[in-house]
Amino acid sequence: MNNSLLVVVLASGVAYGTPLLYASLGEVLAERSGVLNLGVEGMMLVGAVMGFWAVQRVHAATGVSLALAIGVAAIAGIAMAAIHAFLVITLRASQIVSGLALTIFAGAAGLSSYLGNDLNLADNPARHHFDAIFPSSMQHWSIVGPILFGQSLLVYASWICVVAVSLYLSRTRPGLNVRAVGEAPASADAMGINVTRYRYGHTLAGGAFAGVAGATFTLSITPQWTSGITGGAGWIAIALVIFAFWRPALCLVGAYFFGALQALSPQLQAREIHLGPTELWTNSLPYVMTVVVLVFVSASGARRRLGAPASLGLPYVREER
């Protein structure tokens, strides 16, 4: 039962989907405040390398060093996001170019690789990593065992984050304010909301989530460091935000769906099931579906209810409102 294709794919879909989920939650926060950050891949990689560095260098009990590593990864992500925030919020630079610049700066051929090399991190397994936390008897329960109880702490923590971000955006005053800032910064400013502060705060929060997402790779999925370990997950996370209509709960569904697609192709191959060009369609489906969803969202009726924050990508300059 637990070796059936569906259960295996769903279980690894949850595992592979978790970094996508963290990164997309962060991107939802940033985009809801009106800041598009295409640098997710770069922020994730720097988070991944710094988180891994922390776990290798800190000599402490497993729990302590893992907690520290997650903290370091989040800080690294924040530091990367701060560059983007300064350029696009304070200096009013193009969000698209700045985000791409961040990915080039921090990405697989940039800072993350530089740090990994300089800190001698390659070719060693992680000294501690996140394991399944439930007893193995529970993991053997049929169907729900592997999917729900065979996961690491990072997976369960991500569920708490989904609830927290969701409640924050819909039920708290700062959450409502940030949505106002993303939709109509001039009105928000007139209401006395500090647009700059909100945008900085949420861009940096997005960086923290991306950093943790990167560390999910190096501390849980494949507990080691190789350059470019995220393999494009940052871009899927950006797609996921659109796929989820900028809503945290839908991010969870989408992340596991995209994660399951990633797990599907090797599983089908291992079981010698042939469904046409498997690798081609499992790999490209997330991107194609995002394009389809985007077309759907841009239809005028859906745009207002489901669409992107109205001022996404636009700098706010008080003097020019």
Binding site: L36, L38, I83, L87, L91, R92, A93, S94, I96, V97, S98, L100, A101, L102, T103, I104, F105, A106, G107, A108, A109, G110, L111, S112, S113, Y114, L115, G116, N117, D118, S227, G232, W235, I238, A239, I242, P277, E279, L280, N283, S284, Y287, V288, T290, V291, L294, V295, S298, A299, A308, G313, E319, E320
Partner: protein, 366 residues
């Protein structure tokens, strides 16, 4: 200190800011190097030698600069109209696929050299333009944001290209011979489809310069360019003036994609002579994304794109050559990033004037 908009942008600033960002980037990356215990001057010396002086270095730099000139022009042509086509990467792949097919077919059927090359250029244009028209049509008819769609299609194009060689017995794939049975490869182009080079200067480089001049002419000297500019600056004004918005969007996306597609054709014809579908080959060079760096640094001026492409190509080449040895890996990406960050920050100085010491009396916070 306060910031106010410049009414006129002085010409010298348009050159001084990119130049200043290059200098600043070398300074900042030098600090990074020093902070991590490297000898910055020695690393720079290594970069300079590997980019220009070592034997064969200049040719390698041109090899890197040529695709960057094409993708840079593709980005410049679209970004000028505020159409953010960041799909040059995928359009280059698609141009390579179609141009390779044309070269294999016509070259194999004994067509004359010049005609095969011309056909490859046309096929590359068509492939790139067709791929760019997907986001173009979606933008023109459904108002779908072209940034994300063109970005997503990059990945689809890469997977399609890999699929053509690795998972099928397609027209592009080599199916006979010993090597083909060990590892999937693509067919090598017949000699008639190899592009000639003038000494070390590839034909693609010449085409890129020609394309730059044509795009410059199109945008500064023709009605089409003027209308595209109006549409970019103010879509509403363009509509009131009766400019056909949809048609312009489609045309600009097609031009942008076609230029990137010729870049793909040049990859195949000038350099690799086969379809490089290996995910660790062409796709690891990120020509499409780096092209946006080039275009932004050139402030979307097509003629400047060629110059900047040469400089960034030199840096890219140095990074490739020095990989592994005692050269800090990832330094080139860090430098490119810092160059771009400072160029973006410098834009503020071009568009706005920063006045110091005449701050308005700040209103007391209640």
């Amino acid at each position: 200190m306060r910031i106010e908009r410049r009414l006129r942008q002085p010409r010298w600033l348009l050159v001084a800011v990119p130049a200043g960002s290059l200098v600043f980037a070398f300074f900042a990356s030098g600090l990074v190097l020093l902070a991590t215990g490297h000898d910055a001057l020695r690393s720079y010396r290594q970069i300079f030698d590997a980019a220009f002086l070592n034997s064969g270095a200049l040719g390698q730099t041109l090899t890197q600069a040529t695709p960057l000139a094409f993708t840079g022009l593709a980005a410049a042509a679209a970004f000028r109209m505020r159409l953010f086509n960041i799909g040059a990467e995928g359009q280059l792949f698609m141009g390579a696929v179609t141009a390779d097919a044309a070269g294999l077919y016509l070259g194999g059927h004994g067509w004359p050299h010049a005609l095969v090359i011309a056909a490859m250029v046309v096929a590359g244009c068509a492939g790139g333009a067709a791929w760019a028209l997907i986001p173009g049509v979606l933008r023109a008819f459904f108002k779908t944001n072209e940034i994300i769609t063109s970005l997503m299609l990059n990945y689809v194009a890469a997977y399609v290209m890999t699929y053509l060689i690795f998972n099928t017995e397609s027209y592009w794939r080599q199916t006979t011979g010993f090597n083909a049975s060990v590892f999937p490869t693509s067919k090598t182009l017949p000699n008639a489809a190899w592009w000639p080079a003038a000494n070390i200067f590839p034909l693609g480089g010449g085409i890129a310069i020609l394309a730059a001049v044509l795009i410059w002419f199109l945008y500064t000297r023709t009605r089409f360019g003027f209308e595209a500019q109006v549409l970019g600056d103010s879509p509403r004004a363009a509509r009131y003036a009766g400019i056909r918005t949809r048609r312009k969007i489609l045309a600009v996306m097609a031009i942008s994609g076609a230029v990137a597609g010729v870049g793909g054709a040049s990859q195949v014809g000038d350099f690799s002579h086969q379809l490089d579908a290996d995910p660790n080959g062409l796709q690891k060079q990120y020509y499409g994304y780096t092209g946006i760096v080039v275009a932004a640094l050139a402030r979307y001026n097509p003629l400047a794109v060629v110059v900047v492409a040469f400089l960034i190509g030199a840096l890219q080449n140095a990074g490739n050559t020095l990989q592994g040895a005692d050269f800090p890996s990832g330094l080139v990406g860090v430098m490119q990033g810092i160059i771009l960050f400072s160029a973006l920050g410098g834009e503020l100085l071009v568009r706005y004037r920063v006045r110091v010491g005449r701050a308005l009396p700040a209103p007391e916070a209640a």
